[in-house]
Symmetry: C2
Subunit: 411 residues, 2 copies
Amino acid sequence: MNAEIINIGDELLIGQVVNTNASWMAQQLNDAGADVVHISCIADQGAAIMDAMASAIGRADLVLLTGGLGPTRDDITKKVLCDYFNTKLILDEQVLENIRSFFSRKGLPLTGLNRDQALVPEGATILENPVGTAPGIAFERNNKWIVSMPGVPYEMKHIMESYVLPRLVNGRKNYFIVHKTILTQGIGESFLTDKLSGWEENLPKDIKLAYLPSPGIVRLRLSMRGKNRASMQKVIFKQVRLLEEKIPQFIWGFDNDKLEEVVGKLLKKKSLSISTAESCTGGYIAHRLTSVPGSSHYFRGSVVAYDNEVKKDVLEVPGKLLKSHGAVSREVVERMAVGVRERLHSDFSIATTGVAGPGGGTEEKPVGTVWIAIATREKVISEKFQFGDQRDRNIIRTAFAALNMIRKALL
Amino acid sequence: MNAEIINIGDELLIGQVVNTNASWMAQQLNDAGADVVHISCIADQGAAIMDAMASAIGRADLVLLTGGLGPTRDDITKKVLCDYFNTKLILDEQVLENIRSFFSRKGLPLTGLNRDQALVPEGATILENPVGTAPGIAFERNNKWIVSMPGVPYEMKHIMESYVLPRLVNGRKNYFIVHKTILTQGIGESFLTDKLSGWEENLPKDIKLAYLPSPGIVRLRLSMRGKNRASMQKVIFKQVRLLEEKIPQFIWGFDNDKLEEVVGKLLKKKSLSISTAESCTGGYIAHRLTSVPGSSHYFRGSVVAYDNEVKKDVLEVPGKLLKSHGAVSREVVERMAVGVRERLHSDFSIATTGVAGPGGGTEEKPVGTVWIAIATREKVISEKFQFGDQRDRNIIRTAFAALNMIRKALL
């Protein structure tokens, strides 16, 4: 089944909002066996919505629209749906009841604008939205399936998960898409390509390979499509094994794994705790570790020692060391790691110090110079990295390099 | 001028990558006076690229493509451009030289794949890419302007900034788009709409208003288009003033302001320093504060006290308080704020404690219960919040609420 996504909203066309809805929807549709062939972002205008719907219905079996169903006056998708399907808006008592109960649960009054959200196109299937006020709206005409949902991410997700995806999974007819993504850290795209040149040429012809670089991480995606899911999975599995033999030092996970989750699972399995002492990463490693539900089982805390006084006072880095070697040095990062591990009574610790940029670089220690250390009860390991000149990328790359160091130490 | 963006890459259609390129490009094009009318994401396939280019050229004067120019074998945009414009690939010595110097600057060898990136369509304008290896490629035919760029964000940005945007700004003919975005915190979309109902009805007809909600923040965007930039700016300015009178307590910034930057500027201006003590936010506030270049001037550090022992040991929260009131309480959050301010010798501090979820909620303190305190030399202010049931949103909403509390205290 071919699917197409239409995201409605001027905020997308003027670039004020990043389209995370499209990527989430595409991923889910893919997993449910639908091929997303096109994603469009268009204006919150009648003619644009009309045109995009017509083109999409021409190309795809399933057309998903998001946006333009909110309570504010710039939202017009519902009216366009009525025009397109030649129907009119009527009040839906069930939807009104849901909206009423949504507001009373929150202890808030019901506004007139919110009451208008109970107006729905006559003849459409109404999809309940218990996490918001605008319901989803679905039409089925001439073997095409059109679903309009709110643009608020968690409301859209609720309707996708409770209605669209289950129906897709139940309705599919022996056509599958199999993806496997191999996650690497510590090697750039073109070097990885070179390293894999023998393997890549020998890939079966029906496997598609893609390199997906992002700061600190390169993902390798293998894809196949066809009728026999099990046999495709077997073919791909074999290639993954070959990759694991070829570049074991760079692979840390698969598919939607997150490095902080992989690290968290290892810590949990081994009943070990962790803490971080962060200078250049400024709390970003702690943030990633604590973004994982249940991280309180192994994450004890962090000391973000941005100022050298904090390195001295809280982490007990000797002032002498700071003076003689500078804050960005092996000596200091190792003491930071030891200091936080002892101070917070954790089994493992990570420490970072570096020049994130854009200022602060010197001839000897240019922007992008980073030291990372990990400490355990037995030892301290430290490593120097030379990243680039962009602050945000340097912070992310440092965090991934640090998390991967701790992952390796835990194995 | 109408512009259209085509982002090429299977990774977008299977949702593995969020399309941040499109939002950045759209924003820049808008600022340069071009109207983005359509954004498409399509597959890395000849036919799809061909079709999308033809449709886009039909609708827009400027068509920008990204992706499919990398060194790996799944990248085919260049070949499609040759087919579309009826030309062939030739070796460009200047590009080869750039690639060579790019690799030698990094102290890396030149691979055969990277050498192939010096092959460019004959007759095209070649756009230098000093920050990467694949050059940009531009064609001008029948008053249409087509530019193909790498998909790597900072390489694309370089070509946009050095070539596309300057030409747009120089070439425009008295047609402007004026946007003003008002940033609010602490009020939901529909309540804001209600609060603004009198003002909204009286807006001049040629001003377009949009509500853009995201976790913790609602943006209000006013837009006008026309020939007289100065007069449009004046009309919009007047409406912003009215808004500032109507909802002063919720407005914290404008346009692309970030709350952490606004707070940082205030701290810098007043020569004050700040620290954070974070439980439920797990370092996220410290991360946001330190994402701002130059934040080392006012940010001293943070204690992420995830474990109660860290609250006791490092922040000196009395064990008795933790026992009698629980970690999520006014008493504890205030002591955390005082503790970190004293420990890290800062003028101001922020402390957070709460139930981020999904686990850990109780009847009395359900998931989403959050206490935030700020401490100064003179006083401690604390406030309780009831957010929702999603961990990631709760962390973000807590951070924004905390940053806005500190902003207000600094005024």
